[in-house]
């Protein structure tokens, strides 16, 4: 118990937190025949959360800390978790109203993040409670009946919380605009990484994408664009003045898992004029694109008809080449991505086209 070093890969310091949870004096109550106090129940819950987080995020706490919770401790943790779940479920019910009523948007958004953090906490606690229950079941422990009731109660409460949260996924999708979900996803160990819980499987990102698709782009004139874009979206020294690249790149596997979704709106359109001042090219920019897809530029003649006149020529967009075919040139997202901060310069057959303001 005296080893306070952080195991490799434990970026969240979970082993240290587990050590603190194990050292809570209230846990001594479980070794005595007296009734368990609320403080001891809370200590058991904190221990379950701390150990559960180590399991979820693949942190080896060390042999002196690892193990299965004793049935009495796990049962007390289950009861505390049950109370906690009911509290969160009530908070979800009030989420709409609280979010509406809170003038400070940061505070309002925090309600959503707190609930998601609560759901992660519940997952962590339940992981080790379930582990202890399986152990109890194998050993036909005398507490099995009581433990079964406690676990059933937790399962019902988890279901109620999940139903409430899923009904609020539009609000919870605010988390998709932070690093919260991605961080959890990155840190999850197997098997949780392979089959993440619903709030980390892209459901919230999908909701956010639907809601945000038109929120950031109003296509005002170039000057307003620059002013707003600098203020709202870009880091102070970013030189980009035009949106020509998707805001979000998705892995194909994730999109496939999400199934069909609402068609997404383009967030911007960019046009270039040919050196003959008559032909032109257009690129419309999606908010989200698969990482193995392409951005397509379409070519038009002076009468606004799609044209194949440039077929066979090489077009270069932001240093990435593509051959024009059927009046279009497709530039692979993967190749464009490193150049996303650059000006979108287009050249066709070695001649640079002039970009119009968008």
């Amino acid at each position: 118990m005296s080893d306070t070093r952080q195991p490799p890969g434990d970026v969240l310091g979970l082993a240290k937190k587990l050590r603190e949870a194990v050292s809570q004096p209230e846990l001594a109550e479980f070794d005595r025949p007296d009734p368990i106090t609320d403080a001891a129940r809370l200590a058991a819950y904190e221990l379950a959360v701390a150990l559960g987080r180590c399991r979820l995020f693949g942190v080896e706490p060390g042999t002196d800390l690892d193990g299965t919770l004793p049935p009495l401790v796990a049962m007390a943790a289950a009861r505390a978790l049950h109370d906690q779940l009911r509290h969160w479920t009530e908070s979800v019910r009030q989420l709409d109203q609280r979010w509406e009523d809170t003038p400070n948007p940061i505070e309002a958004d925090d309600f959503c993040y707190d609930l998601l953090e609560g759901r992660m906490e519940a997952m962590a606690a339940f992981t080790v409670i379930d582990e202890a229950y399986a152990d109890c079941l194998d050993n036909r422990d005398a507490l099995l009946g009581e433990f079964t009731n406690a676990v059933d109660g937790v399962l019902d409460a988890l279901q109620a919380l999940d139903e409430g949260l899923q009904a609020q996924k539009d609000l919870l999708s605010l988390a998709a605009g932070t690093h919260l979900l991605e961080n959890w996803r990155t840190l999850l160990a197997e098997p949780y990484h392979e089959t993440p819980p619903w709030w980390l499987d892209g459901t919230l990102e999908e909701a956010a994408q639907r809601i945000r698709r038109t929120a950031l782009e109003t296509q005002p004139d170039g000057a307003t664009w620059r002013r707003h874009k600098t203020r709202l979206f870009d880091p102070p020294r970013t030189p980009v003045v035009i949106i020509w690249f998707p805001r979000r790149i998705e892995r194909v596997a994730r999109l496939a898992a999400q199934g069909t979704e609402e068609p997404q709106a383009p967030i911007a359109a960019v046009s270039w004029t040919a050196p003959d001042a008559a032909h032109y090219a257009v690129l419309s920019v999606p908010e989200t694109a698969d990482d193995d897809s392409s951005l397509t530029v379409a070519f038009f003649d002076p009468q606004d008809r799609p044209t194949t006149e440039f077929d066979g020529s090489v077009a270069i967009l932001a240093s990435v080449p593509a051959t024009i075919a059927n009046g279009r040139a497709g530039f692979p997202i993967k190749q464009l991505a490193p150049h996303r901060q650059e000006e979108p310069i287009l050249s066709v057959a070695g001649r640079i086209w002039t970009r119009e303001s968008a």
Binding site: D96, Q97, E100, I211, R213, T214, A215, L216, E217, T218, Q219, P220, H228, L232, P263, Q264, A265, P266, I267, A268, A269, S271, Y280, V282, L283, S284, V285, P286, A289, L295, T296, V297, A298, F300, P302, D304, P306, R328, E356, A358
Partner: protein, 454 residues
Amino acid sequence: MTTRTIDDSRLKELCAPLPEQRKPFAALKRILAFGDLGRWWLDPSMLDLAKPAATSCSSWLEVPRPASAIGSVWVLFVNTCPAELPLLRRAMLLPLIWKPGFDHSSRLPMHLREVASQVVAVLAEEEVPGLVAARWGLHLAIEDDLDLSAITLRCESAWASLAAGLIVAAEGGRPDTDVWATGEWSPTPRQFSPVDGLEAKLALATEYRAGKFFVPPMQLEDARKATSGTGPQLASLDAEKRTLYHVVEPYVTALFRWPEVPAASDEAALQTCIRYYLHQPPQAESTLRFYRSHLLRGVADHCRRQVEKKWPNCKPTHLVTVVSTSPELAALSAAALGVKHRLFLHTDDCKQKSAADVVKACLNDLGERGADCPAPFTMGPSMAEQMIALGNHFLQGVPPGQAVIDLKPGNKKMTYALSRLARPGDWLFNFDGKQHDHRRTIPLTETVDLWQAM
């Protein structure tokens, strides 16, 4: 999150003619500037024009459809200045949603918010279930950042749509997006006024392939002329009624989408089905079919719980009942009592023979398997004797106390014959309930009565 404000001058700007050159690009830029509302309000030719320039997301440039979530509602507006707004549709649809527990959105067109408030107030005053104590707010169903509060639109014709949409939402139903309406109604005095732009609205409904369109009664003929037999089926709101609820009831009946079969424990879904059922015409075959598929299980469980609680020693094995013109009654007693041997007495005509088959099918669907004996008898002076003879034959060898006679279905003579069949100790079954109209009981108000023959 930025706010996309569209007021009258912005609307004019966005709906001005396109420049002569680079029209696909210009159209796409205009649509993007308009936001999601552009797909709903801009002339569809704009969407088509922009498609070649939409090198990504081209499917977004299809004309969208209204949603059918709980609370979904859509209202129609008319472009009253087509010369100034040439790219705006002649009639436009605005998708909205009624949200429980909310105030009206401050981003709605101001006049629409006023109409919404009046609709809520009138329906609450009429004590429409679900609206008396609850707060309902109207919100845009597109783009959270869209602000239309400063736009000037005539919104009076939204009365009918908002009222019917709210009633369906309060009853837990989802709207059928193929059923549309326009109708201006005034609470004082309680009457309709003709709506503007009916022809353009009908053309929009036709474009969206709406199946049914409700109009104010005084404009039904105009609507017929305008559509000349093509487009949606036309129907009239009910001008004869005094309350807004009843005025829009024909529309509500059509708008309320056939709900899913409720799960056994889903009380809210069952209540929605009851509301749906009570809106439907009482004796229509589709209504009866709905009762059997969606409500019979819940009603049978409701009755069975009463039997188990009040008469725990009633465990009949044999049931005698009559298949009347309401075959679900016979199925209900069999299911409520959980009896496995069932005698279905019925008149010997084809109609009642198939009604007996309906009872068997109902019980089968409910998972109430058992041995069913259809037993035809002839109407006439010997009817009672025939019924008693058939019943006695069926109950031969069944100990008294294990048979139950269902007195609910059939006419009085039949009830009399059946009551004579009961032996001392046998059970007699009946139920009563709150009547919605003269022909049907409100589901889940049934009160079972059981007693033993002396």
